[in-house]
């Protein structure tokens, strides 16, 4: 029972982990051009980091770091302009949120209206564990009990009877 629970847990961890790990491995294309980049490598690094968190609102499933769309380019430029002004990462993200809404963030923020979204996977995992344990418990409860001594004797008697019947059949 404990082992099967562990298996379920490990499978869940694997599925969730691969969902998070595989997309970054696949998307290697970058839309950024050399002239967009900032001279300061530290600021440029922050710009790239922010770009990967922001959604291109035209293509909607790409970050502005990946997208070649015009709006993505404008947003990359805006992010860099604000970085040069000395704004913090949080300030830049909240500025863009104020203009485009939460949708501009690729990862939805944990808020009252997104609670269901964040907690649903955990809920489904718990539900799955509960159902599996329930099914297993019921299966063990209805498993046939081992045969008793009296039943064994009865079987032997029947076997004996069968054997004699067969020998009588022979001519």
């Amino acid at each position: 029972m404990i082992r099967s629970g562990l298996y379920i847990f490990l499978i869940g961890v694997f599925v969730m982990g691969s969902a998070g790990l595989i997309p970054p491995l696949i998307s290697t294309a970058n839309a950024i051009t050399a002239e967009e980049m900032l001279a300061d490598p530290l600021l440029e690094n922050r710009a790239r980091n922010l770009s990967q968190k922001l959604r291109c609102l035209v293509c909607q499933n790409q970050s502005i770091d990946d997208s070649d769309a015009d709006l993505a380019k404008d947003l990359r430029r805006e992010v860099r302009a604000q970085l040069v002004q000395g704004k913090t990462d949080e300030a830049i993200l909240s500025d863009l949120r104020a203009k485009y809404g939460d949708f501009v963030l690729l990862a939805p923020p944990l808020a009252k209206n997104t609670m269901g979204l964040w907690l649903a996977p955990i809920g489904f995992l718990l539900l799955g564990i509960a159902i599996t344990l329930g099914v297993r418990r019921r299966a063990s409860a209805t498993a046939p009990s081992p045969i008793s001594q009296a039943e064994r004797a009865q079987i032997e008697a029947l076997k004996q009877q069968h054997k004699t019947a067969r020998t009588c059949d022979q001519p």
Binding site: L57, Q60, D70, D74, E78, R97, A98, K99, Y100, G101
Partner: protein
Amino acid sequence: MSRFRPTFFIPLIAFLGLVMIGGLALQGTLSGSRNPNQLPSVLIGKPAPDVPLPLLQNNQAELALDAYRGQPLLVNFFASWCAPCRAEAPALEHLSKQISIIGIAYKDRPQDTRKFLQQYGNPFVAIGRDDDGRAGMAWGVYGVPETYLIAPSGQIKWRHAGPLTRDVITTQLLAKLDEMQ
């Protein structure tokens, strides 16, 4: 084991629930009331952004939305390079008889904008130039055309992304306008 078990129906009920959600979404998509590509504007109910823009007609002067306070106003982001903007030009022309419309030329060259207006008509009371798209960003524009309805108080009341069709004008825009008056 022939005892009636109500738990047997739980997956069936859950499945029917999913079918119902999918059906409602499909019906909404087919009837046009639900468009997953339409992002809701977060600026609804907020004051219209005040980004100074040079006027198309006169480089030296700036477009001031404040000057139009006290009346409902439409703000239309358009560009000469945008095909749906051509499609909605007659609708804007028609609307300009009932409401003042401000045009904002989004990432366009002034000479192209002028040519576009000559060809498709000029329904605007004033036209601002948003050459680099920064004003568009402040308004949350993610594509042209986009149209905003501004209340006499200067608050954004409604936004539509995409061309203004007859259906959008009658069921949404004019309804909002009536509400306001």
